[in-house]
Structures are given as structure tokens and as C-alpha cells.
Symmetry: C2
Subunit: 430 residues, 2 copies
């Protein structure tokens, strides 16, 4: 399909006559307000990359930006770079820019450390805010590291805290009670893309006196989030997915302003001190969000993250979300009617308003199918035990990519192209 001449592709369409055509998809691209965004990324020729929710693509400006920080700032100014180039302020500066994308006012969000470490900081602070409560509500299908970090903290505390895990997203609210210190959820389910209703859950938590900790790993940069507007208490998120900060980019952390003065940092480091350069043997936490910072900022990786975030900020979040819904919806509209025949079961919600920027199907041969698609240079990913996950980063994917990906999925299954022992050897995938 990939190497087929354009004109002939429609004649080979595997879809019924009433389905959207490849020409329809191209027409949508022609009127796409984000059409110019693709050129701000370096993408390999001919690749359809549907895994930007795992690792975002390389923003065109990022390598030069990092090179400049290394050669001109670090190389020429050495230690003076900390003041001359504002390195010390990077967590707040990049944090403010991310804040614009997720509704966090200035001074409530910082970029630093990793999602897991930031979650530890917030969960420890939340438990300190609710010292008489012993449960943290989450869901069994939450991204495992979120559950691990909670269990590790609970064991360290040794005070009998425990996770109360809802089996299904819709059971979360019922699990919240007056023993709930915090509700810790990932807004977009990493496997199915299902969206939690942040407003409703936050309200339900507050009604019982519980705090909320939102993991925005698959939200930030992909859909509008309004942390302040929904009255969220705490949040974390990932820098290397839709923020395109590069592999292992720094994460971010949000603390509502009303909770900052009472925020007790479990991880006390010198950069979170009110006066770090006094080298005071006694820790005095900085005012505001500054106390959530622990260590010297990771300047090179924050520079790359800033380039990713700057790339996003040139575009309107409403357009990003509209295109995201259109992309996953093209794919769904094409696949759904054939799903039963192909052995696919949709794992994502039908309504695009209820899912993130991904669409997922289950298939018993999911792993091999994803591998067969990779051979055609269509990169999605597989999540055990049987989920085919297709992420659509709206900034650099075209509507025609969604059409081609769907057509190839049908073709791979119909021609049993996945039925190849080579494709069943599980490599260590990410």
C-alpha cells in the first residue's frame, strides 16, 4: 500500500462504497488549519507514525536549540550560564509554557524530574494534607508505575495506607469515601484511550473531602485540560509524549495555588530551598511551587522539552483537539463496520469526546499484526494481552495517514500478512 501509486490506491480500497474515500481524507488535509504544523517536525520519509503517545516526534527546531545550549551557553559561558541564560529558571519557565496547555496559571506548574518521581512528591504531600485518611482510590487498569509508586510510598510510611482500586472507570466515584485521602487517576487510559471526566471525579472527591491527583501523561498537548477550571488539586504529566520533548524528557508537576503553602516536600533538595545559595544547613522550603523542585535543573533535556512545547504553542488547542477527534474518527468509521469480520473488537469508546488521541482494538493476534504493519512502515504499538494501539498526534499526522493506516490494517488481516513466524518473536517493545 505504501508504495502504491497514489491514483491507484482508491481502486484498491478495502472499504465499502459508502465509506470515506482516500480522496475525502485528502480533502480534509487540504482544509486542515494545522496543515503547516507537520513541517515543524522531522519525520522519516514514508513513515506513518502512530506512536506519538509513547514517544513524540522530533521538532525541527529541537536539535539546533540543544546544540546552541551546549556550544554557546555551556561551552562559552560555563558556570555563568546559570544566571546569564536563565538555566535556574528553566523548570518554572518551561512549566509556565506547559501550564498554558493544561490550564495551570503561572507559578502552579514546573517541569522537572520524571512523572513517577513527581507523583511520589504529590502523593506524599496529599497524604500529609489528609493525615487521618488511609486510602487512595485509583483503578486497576491505571498505568502500573502510578500504582507502584503509591505502594512504595505506603510501605515507606508504614502507617497502613492502601490502594482501593476500582475495576472499571465508572466505579471510581463509588469507591470514594471519607477515608479517601486522594483519588489518583490517569485522565486518558493508556491502553484504551478512555477519558475520565475530570470535572465529575474532582467534584465527587471534594464532596468527600478527598484530594485529586491527575496523571496527564496522555492528555497534555493532545486535548484541552483546564486544571484550575476543574479545581484539580495536583497533577503530573509526561514530557516525551504529546509534548515532544524527546526520549526520557523531564516531566511536569502541578500544585493548585491554595495547596502550596501547606505542601510538605517529602523529597527535600537544595533547589527547593527558599534561599538555595545560602547553603543553609536547615531546610526552609521556598514559597509557592518552588518547593516541589529538588535538584539542579537538567538543562539540556529541558531545552529540548522547551523546543517541543514551543512547537505546540504556535497552534490552537481547540484545533488540535478537533483534528485529533477527526483522525481517530476516520479510523473508527473505516474499521468498525468490518471489525467483526476481521476479528477486531474496539477497545476505545465510540464517542470521540470520550477518548484521548488514540483508538484501540483488540485482536488475539494483536502482536503479530502490529509487527506486520511496522513492516509496511506504519508504526502503532501493542499493549498486552491483545491491544493494538494507534495514537494520532494531531500536529504531524494527516487525515490521509489515518485512512492509509486503516486500509493497511484491513489488508494485513485479510491477507493474513501477520501469519509469519518471524513476526511472532517478541522483541522487547516499549
Amino acid at each position: 500500500m505504501e508504495h502504491m501509486p497514489e491514483a491507484s490506491r482508491d481502486r484498491h480500497s478495502p472499504f465499502p462504497p459508502d465509506a470515506p474515500t482516500r480522496a475525502d481524507a485528502k480533502a480534509m488535509d487540504a482544509r486542515d488549519p494545522l496543515a503547516g504544523a507537520r513541517d515543524q517536525f522531522r519525520l522519516p520519509q514514508g513513515l506513518i507514525y502512530l506512536d506519538g503517545n509513547s514517544l513524540g516526534a522530533l521538532p525541527r527546531r529541537a536539535p539546533d536549540r540543544v546544540f546552541e545550549v551546549m556550544r554557546l551557553q555551556w561551552g562559552e559561558d560555563l558556570i555563568a550560564g546559570w544566571t546569564r541564560h536563565g538555566w535556574m529558571d528553566l523548570p518554572l519557565r518551561v512549566g509556565s509554557k506547559i501550564g498554558e496547555l493544561v490550564g495551570a496559571p503561572d507559578g502552579t506548574l514546573v517541569a522537572c524530574d520524571t512523572t513517577t518521581l513527581n507523583l511520589y512528591k504529590l502523593l506524599a504531600a496529599a497524604l500529609a494534607e489528609r493525615p487521618d485518611r488511609r486510602t487512595v482510590v485509583s483503578e486497576r487498569g491505571n498505568f502500573p508505575t502510578d500504582l507502584y509508586v503509591a505502594e512504595g510510598l505506603f510501605r515507606t510510611l508504614g502507617q497502613g495506607h492502601r490502594l482501593k482500586l476500582a475495576d472499571r472507570a465508572e466505579d471510581v466515584v463509588a469507591a470514594i469515601d471519607t477515608d479517601t485521602a486522594a483519588v489518583m487517576l490517569t485522565q486518558v487510559d493508556y491502553r484504551t484511550g478512555a477519558l475520565h471526566d475530570m470535572d465529575a471525579v474532582t467534584k465527587a472527591a471534594h464532596d468527600k473531602g478527598a484530594l485529586t491527583i491527575w496523571d496527564l501523561a496522555h492528555s497534555a498537548g493532545a486535548l484541552p485540560v483546564d486544571l484550575a477550571g476543574t479545581d484539580a488539586d495536583y497533577a503530573v504529566g509526561c514530557g516525551y509524549k504529546y509534548l515532544n520533548g524527546g526520549p526520557g524528557a523531564p516531566a511536569f508537576l502541578y500544585v493548585a495555588r491554595r495547596l502550596q503553602a501547606s505542601f510538605v516536600p517529602a523529597l527535600q533538595g537544595w533547589l527547593g530551598h527558599a534561599r538555595p545559595f545560602d547553603f543553609d544547613p536547615a531546610y526552609v522550603p521556598a514559597e509557592g511551587i518552588g518547593r516541589t523542585i529538588v535538584s539542579t535543573p537538567s538543562v539540556l533535556s529541558l531545552a529540548a522539552l522547551e523546543a517541543g512545547v514551543d512547537t505546540l504553542r504556535s497552534w490552537r488547542m481547540a484545533d488540535i483537539r478537533a483534528k485529533s477527534e477527526a483522525l481517530t474518527e476516520i479510523f473508527r468509521i473505516l474499521i468498525d463496520p468490518l471489525a467483526e469480520r476481521l476479528g477486531l473488537t474496539r477497545a476505545s469508546p465510540r464517542d470521540p469526546a470520550l477518548r484521548g488521541s488514540q483508538i484501540c482494538y483488540r485482536h488475539p493476534e494483536g502482536y503479530a499484526i502490529i509487527q506486520a504493519l511496522v513492516e509496511r512502515r506504519i508504526v502503532g504499538d501493542f499493549r498486552a494481552p491483545d491491544i493494538l494501539r494507534f495514537g494520532f498526534a494531531p500536529l504531524y499526522l494527516r487525515h490521509v495517514d489515518a485512512w492509509d493506516a486503516a486500509a493497511n490494517l484491513v489488508d494485513v488481516i485479510e491477507t493474513r500478512a501477520y501469519d509469519d513466524p518471524r513476526l511472532r518473536v517478541r522483541a522487547r517493545v516499549t
Copy 2:
């Protein structure tokens, strides 16, 4: 001094006739086995950089290495980079290379996170190893973040742990008793450069059943350390000082092999799981050092750190230490005889074997003197309340730099060049 013609410099020597001459220093450079190392760094023309113990210089190979990781690995291979380019193994791979510099066998040292966060991990594990003990011995003059992180952990634990701080380095051993869970020390004092005797302290700790946690921030890459040979239990260190990993580079962490199986991670993240890609809701710690890793590796900054470490590894540690001692010794031999007249008091040990790669003096006008030297493009740093700190990174400094720095220090004080209100305005220094 900086712009004086070379031939005339000796005629303006501020030192007595029997002191080493600038020509002597140049002769030492001529027979320096590390002379070729300087060219492996990009250093600004005419700058004498004596702050490599705060932020190391830029290795010549680093920008291209990072650029390649961004453009070719991330840009071309995207998610496949994790396997194709061994990104996932970076903490262990870079860790092994650092391990060669500090006597840590393969599989006992990883590069990840920050010094402070790694210290938290180790201290939490040490307290879990010694559940019946309640004190951690350190010294009042330890780098403050080390003390902050301990206090933060103790408060989080809520079990009555406390720091027992020796007022002087020589009082540490006497402070260790059977209630001591761990002895936590920075090997090289960040202000004075004084070296702890790792062998003696470790033995004293073990005699009382206590564990040791060594902070190698100012040691790694500057002097030979033999973690396994001294039977150290745990260690952390910094990537952006003598390892030249760049501003805010990842740090490292060491756990003696015999303590790995019982290591209880307080910070449980998905990368520390035995099978991270199973996305198992239950945490099962990886075997060995892997369980100390929490999060997705920070690939760009680990690539820069690897370039720094690779640069170091081309040279013999014995030569590095010998030159380090020679550099600080030139400076000391020149300054000591004039110190009283200049109002300087040496803060570092007289014997080079007892200090790290820095030499420090106290002066009531220390801050302004450091600023006046910066105006002459000689960059040392100031540590409150009155310490002038001169770090000598042996790979890129010449003996003649030590001579010139000393001559300028004398000149700045004798001519009262520091006595300028501009130089007293404290900027936010690092």
C-alpha cells in the same frame, strides 16, 4: 595579567625569588602526560576556569554526540530507538563506565536521576536494612542538600530518626555507635576540599554495624576512588562536575552487590520492575541494581554524560590525581608564604593527599575578590561566608594556569582591585 605579553610576565612576578616561576610551570606543562586532554574540551579563549567542580567544561565530542542522538536516533527511528540504540540500557551502560572511575564492578552502579533523589533512595534503603537504629551520622558542614534529604525522609517516615552531626570531620568516627543506621558523608568537603578517609570511616561504621553512604560529588573523575575495595555500602555522585556531563546532568548511584537482594526501593517505578513491559499491576523489583532505577531514562542528557565520561576514560586516573595534586600544590606554594600579608587564611589541608582537586582560602572580602578575578577572566567561586574556592580540573587546566591564577590573586589583593562597589553587588551565584 591576562593580556600581558608572555615574556614580560615573569618580570612582574609578585612572588619571592625562590618561588616556582612561570617558566617552571610551563616546563611542567611540557612534560605533562595529560597535556593532550585539554584539546578534548572546548574552552573559551583566554579563560582560566577554576570552577569545574561546580560545572565541568564542554567535552569537544559532546554536542555532536547529542545532535546525532537527536537527529539520527530519535528523529529517524523514533520509538524503535529504545531497542535499536540501546537507550533502555543507558543507565547501566553509562553506569559501568563511571564505575570504572570509582571502583564499582559492573552491575553495581547506574546513572540516573539526580544526586539528591539517589541519596533519598539509598538512605531509605539503608534505614530499612537497619530497622532498629534511629540515627544517621553526618557532619554539620556536609553539602546542605544531603542533610535536607535526610530530614525530609525522616519526617516522612515519622519513626523518630534523627541526624547526628559531627562539628568537625575528625569527630565523625566518635559519633558512630550502635544506634547508627548509616554514616552519610561527602568524601570531599565542598567548601574546603578536605578529604574523608573512606577506608577508616567505613571500617569504623562496620565495626558498629552501621552502613555507609558516600557522596562522591567532588570525587568522581577527580581522584581514584575504590568503592568495592573500601567495602563501601552505598554511594551517589554528580554527573556535571568532574564527569563533565553538562548542566544538571544525570547523577549516579552505587549499591554494593551484597546489599542488592535486600534493597527495598522506596521510589518504585516501572523501570525498576523485573519485567517493565509486562505492565504488571503488582511491583516485582528487578534483580540487582536495576531495582534502583525508577523512570524512563533521560536519553539526551545521558548521551551528553556518556560523552563526558568517555573523555575521562581515555586517561589514567593515577595521572589525573598526580596532576590534580600538582596544580593545587603550585597554587598553595605560591600563596601560602604571602597569605598572612594578603589577609588570606588557607581553608584546605596543607597536604595534597588530604584534599580533593581544589584549594580554598578565606578572606573577609572573598566575594569581591572572586568578582575581580572574574573580570580578569579567571573564574573561581565564592562560598559563604568568606571562602574563595579554586577548583582544578586536571584534564583541561595547565600548570601555568595555576601560576597565573595565583599571581592574579596576589595582584587583585595588593592593588585592591576588588575594592570597587560594583563587585560587591551579589548576583545570584551558583
